[in-house]
Symmetry: C2
Subunit: 97 residues, 2 copies
């Protein structure tokens, strides 16, 4: 599992369309197909239902969508977090191991 895979998954889930998601991600469909499939295999469950009209999110996929967006948002905010307050004034000891 990688952050890239999660980004891909979010795009496909939100677009409900593999080709549209590929456009949004600036990649082509084949890698996207493969990554989604890899993710499904790694999790051992189907995340989408393939229909002639596109990709429909299944219940496990819906849960993953929320989780993936949360994780990606957290990762995206890391730079701001680190720049925020390097030394909060309090004794921030790193002795928690």
């Amino acid at each position: 599992m990688s952050l890239c895979q999660l980004s891909y998954f979010v795009a496909v889930a939100e677009e409900a369309h593999l080709s549209r998601a590929a456009l949004r991600l600036n990649i082509s469909q084949p890698p996207l197909t493969r990554q989604i499939r890899n993710l499904e295999e790694e999790l051992g469950m189907q995340l989408f239902e393939r229909t002639p009209l596109g990709m429909r999110l299944l219940p496990p996929g819906a849960k993953l969508l929320a989780e993936a967006k949360s994780i990606l948002s957290q990762v995206k905010n890391i730079p701001q977090l680190l720049r925020a307050s390097p030394a909060p004034g309090l004794a921030l000891d790193a002795d928690n191991l």
Copy 2:
């Protein structure tokens, strides 16, 4: 930024030692050095202070450590989360395969 990098960072931060972290991760030091450096360059700030005795976590690194552990934990729990309750708020048949 990748989850792999975050795992590497956590190991180095907790061990305060690049070689010990490498052992824990079952890799060798050079890739670890490079990944930590890549992470620092990507974030545009130094996370560790290099000393002859090892790697000492700087304040930004300490904040990243907490965040990285949180993210990795969230990712690690994804499988259980997806298996927990397939349809939150929806009453569907569970035998959809």
